[in-house]
């Protein structure tokens, strides 16, 4: 009997050994090789994506490091004159006065919807073009003067005013009495990251128009002191 068992063991020793090696290899593959393959693939893919990102970053760096931003700073100042970052009621009144002087119309009344004065972020009117101050004006003058007034509202010589509604009555003398409803846009400066450093043709055209319209712009400094703790009543 013992001889028979020994014979069987002897007969299958290599087969059993092979099977055991196979099982050990399977276990080692699962516990060592597979994690190593995953780790390798993860590092490889991370390196590839980082290298790609670095190429983009290098492109940005080379673009922005050589960029002289002085022109952009000057452009922004000019843009803010037509589209300010705050409600700035004083400049709104100034702008309407300027339009009255340059067009020859007589403004009988001007109403600016003040909205919230306390904070800039408080509830404000806004539409698809941005936040705005609502204006209503009663204007008197000839048809030509009214047209001049309207053409100057968005000629970039000052804050943009968009007149959306007009109600005019024409007198026998040819004079026109008009009621205008308009919007004066503004918006907080949102610093937006951009990969573009070149203005598109449309943007450059508008920028050129703004610069041309403001070539003789003389900045008036507001040195008035109003109230306590505020620079003036209507701005932050």
């Amino acid at each position: 009997m013992n001889q028979h068992v020994l014979n069987i063991i002897k007969k299958y020793q290599w087969a059993v050994g092979g099977a055991m090696v196979l099982m050990v290899v399977l276990w080692l593959t699962y516990s060592l090789l597979v994690p190593n393959i995953s780790k390798y693939e993860a590092i490889k893919s991370s390196n590839t994506s980082r290298q790609k990102k670095m190429a983009d970053m290098l492109g940005q760096i080379s673009k922005f490091e050589t960029l002289n931003t002085q022109q952009y700073e000057r452009d922004l100042v000019n843009i803010i004159r037509v589209l300010p970052s705050e409600k700035d009621f004083l400049s709104a009144f100034d702008r309407v006065d300027q339009l009255q002087r340059s067009s020859g119309v007589t403004i009988d009344s001007l109403t600016i919807d003040l909205g919230s004065v306390s904070t800039v972020s408080a509830a404000k009117k806004a539409d698809q073009y941005g936040s705005y101050l609502a204006l209503s004006l009663s204007v008197r003058g000839t048809s030509e003067q009214l047209k001049t007034f309207l053409s100057k509202t968005n000629d970039f010589s000052g804050r943009i005013i968009i007149v959306s509604n007009i109600k005019s009555g024409i007198k026998n003398s040819g004079d026109i009495q008009s009621h205008l409803e308009a919007k004066m846009y503004f918006g907080a400066l949102k610093y937006a990251d951009s990969d573009n450093i070149q203005l598109s043709q449309a943007q450059q055209t508008v920028m050129d128009k703004i610069l041309a319209s403001q070539a003789f712009f003389v900045q008036t400094e507001d040195t008035g002191v109003v109230g306590k703790g505020k620079k003036n009543l209507f701005t932050r």
């Binding site: 196979l22 080692l28 698809q128 309207l150 937006a192 703004i210």
Partner: protein, 186 residues
Amino acid sequence: MIEKRQLNLIILKDDELPILKSARKYLPIAGFISLAVFLCGYFYYYNNIVKISSVQEKIDSDYRMYEKRIENLRAKQQLTGTVISRLDQVIKLEKLPKQELTIDKIMSLEDYGVTVTGYTISDFEKISISMTASSSAALDNFVEAIHEKEKNKEFKEIFARSVVREKDGYYNFVLELKNGAAKTSG
């Protein structure tokens, strides 16, 4: 002297199952091959991980350096972004219809023998015009002219409210229409 030997001519019965026979034959080979493959694979990937890890360290340090450089350029990037987004907003506003051109179109109707006594423009598009014609012939001429304007796409959806004839023979009427795409030549 001849040695005596026994000769067994009975063939022993082979009762081993074929599967065990195959196992005995192939399992040692499979075990050996799998061990060899495992060892090759393990050392191959281990070696690669060591190599790629050193590359990764270099990439990481470069990446941090680039991030720092980008961070230093953030102000420039934001400035250009702000200028561009602001200009886009100005472009949108600039594209809105010019009301002075609409008034030009309205007043040009007087060329056809009528007198404009008032007008309303709502939301750039809806227009209502009050007019006076000195005679029915003038009114007739005007109707023809306004059809022409519609064909030229200066105005569209033209609708005339009732016409009132005054004691003095003048005709007062109100026209409701919409601003068309075409601009006046003037």
